[in-house]
Symmetry: C2
Subunit: 340 residues, 2 copies
């Protein structure tokens, strides 16, 4: 069935779930059709003379701007670094575009800029170009930041959904849902434990280590932002034509985050992260990759969370704690608006 454009854009079109995908297909793929875009990966590959560049963009509209563990500046830098790193690229440079609401406190802006500086220094990736726009009071919500990034894809690195094979291991780099719950807690003053902190972190050093640990064994890496692990796995299953099976008892969720999710009726598999990745790799390389991940401070809780299987109808399945299984679908509607 050919889908039609909706009449109006809704918050759910920005969720990162099914409706975002639908809008992208109806509007952007149809108009901007080209092979790099069509892959809909975290970053696009661009032939740049004799080299291969990775290129990515993200706008950040998170509300509030500051929350435990990070702020809009830190996640803007980390998100773009991670979109390059999951492609196997070495991040080389970041841009920063600011849209500021008139009257915004300059010291607050300065604090956010310093947070970007610290994240960029941690990632070893300079912010080399920028842009500043100011709109009248009431025409934006404080501050929006766009970051784009370019990286160098090393020779021989070709990560892709198409490389995934039945039997591959599905590795998750750490606890899920911390970022989404930390932002929601800060926004709504829910009063959950202050132990729930955003995981916003640059993963480039950790993921470069993964590639070194298993040369040729890594099929695909994906960072787990809007829509969480569940939506990422659905997209990967869809693109690879293979099923993915994950085990509820091993998927890592921090106790405080898990408790908050239960009280709010949220599934941590769908909640956004800003410092987590899923790695698809040959099963024989899983142990080496895990040991490499766990040496990095952002990968200490990494686990093999599941595996790839070939089935007549590709799907994502969760083997539950009580021995059953349920189908995982992409995020439907909008769970937590403005999470990044």
């Amino acid at each position: 069935m050919r889908k039609n454009l909706p009449e109006k854009i809704t918050l759910a079109h920005g969720s990162g779930g099914r409706l975002t995908r639908e809008l992208i297909e109806l509007l952007f793929l149809r108009n901007f059709s080209n092979p790099a875009l069509a892959r809909l990966e975290d970053s696009a590959e661009v032939a740049l003379g004799r080299e291969r560049a990775a290129f990515t963009t993200d706008s950040y509209v998170v509300s509030p701007l500051e929350f435990p563990g990070a702020d809009i500046g830190r996640i803007a830098v980390c998100g773009t670094v991670n979109d390059l790193a999951v492609k196997g690229a070495r991040p080389l440079a970041i841009s920063a575009g600011f849209i500021i609401e008139e009257g915004f406190n300059a010291l607050r802006l300065s604090k956010i800029v310093r947070s970007m500086k610290a994240a960029a220094a941690e990632a070893g990736t300079p912010i080399v170009t920028g842009d500043t726009k100011v709109v009248e009071k009431g025409h934006a919500d404080g501050l929006f930041i766009n970051t784009s990034g370019i990286g160098l894809i090393p020779r021989g690195v070709n990560l892709s959904c198409k490389k995934i094979k039945p039997g591959d291991a599905v590795i998750v780099s750490g606890t899920l849902g911390d970022h989404g719950i930390a932002v929601m807690n800060a926004r709504n003053s829910l009063g959950f434990s202050s132990a729930i902190r955003s995981d916003g972190a640059p993963l480039n050093a950790m993921l470069a280590g993964v590639l070194r640990a298993a040369p040729g064994g890594v099929r695909l890496m994906r960072d787990l932002t809007r829509g969480g692990l569940a939506t990422a796995l659905c997209e990967i299953s869809d693109a690879s034509g293979l099923s993915v099976e994950i085990d509820e008892t091993v998927v890592p969720v921090a106790t405080a985050t898990g408790n908050a999710c239960r009280m709010l009726g949220l599934d941590p598999l769908y909640v956004a992260n800003e410092g987590k990745a899923v790695i698809f790799a040959a099963a024989a390389d899983a142990a080496g990759i895990l040991s490499s991940l766990r040496k990095n401070k952002y990968g200490r809780k990494a686990v093999v969370a599941g595996r790839v299987v070939r089935e007549a109808k590709p799907q994502v399945r969760l083997n539950t704690a009580i021995g059953g299984s349920r189908i995982i679908l992409p995020l439907e509607g909008e769970q937590l608006p403005r999470i990044c």
Copy 2:
């Protein structure tokens, strides 16, 4: 005198003039210090393996979204293509980040996306990666678009303020101020002639022709956006340590735009363009460059508008029609907010 951060961000900080420069220095250069950023050029040069990449970003907040001659989509694509092209780079890929206000009409969005498609096709530069965010009604003004771009800087091309020499010709590629006046006319229903249309255009083919016409003779190119020709020349004079002298009688201004400027008390030298460039080149190459420019539909009105001179105190000077001269200063305050 060391300047201090203001208390609040004002519209003038987004003008592209003196206060924008001050904010960039206080906030961004101080924190993100690196050689590429410090040059504050239209795009930054990034070493990418064996190649040199140009990298640039711009956020577009123009109001209204549609105006005679162009719309936010066209200028978002053209502005980024032009920032790469003035660096002598071949634009290779563009990103598009959308921040959409909840409730925005999807057909209107679709029309703007098609306008981006047409501009990208004209520039021969694919849109390869994107991002979509939606914010609640009242938290943005319809639509903001960020475009970033990467290009390949050909071997031997090294345009820079530092290359400018006394005696160089200052070439302006066409009429000034049309974009700013077209937007202002549309925004305020001023009722000026509908002949005043935005000049939004991709200049990459035209500027590549300029480089071919004068290999080695082109010192610097700059596109003339916020702050207009006046602000660009002030920045170039400042960075090169040389004076620039331009002749009022030859600077091209369309009749309708000039009349509108007089009625509004605006100086077209300060009004924004989205399809004009200034080119600094060896005087001996000026004729060849002019003839190359005039062959392109966006350069038919190109002229040699002035020259570079060495003086004790570098400044920008306008030789007026009545035989006098006046000093040109960078744009002060905010003349026309949200022009791009």
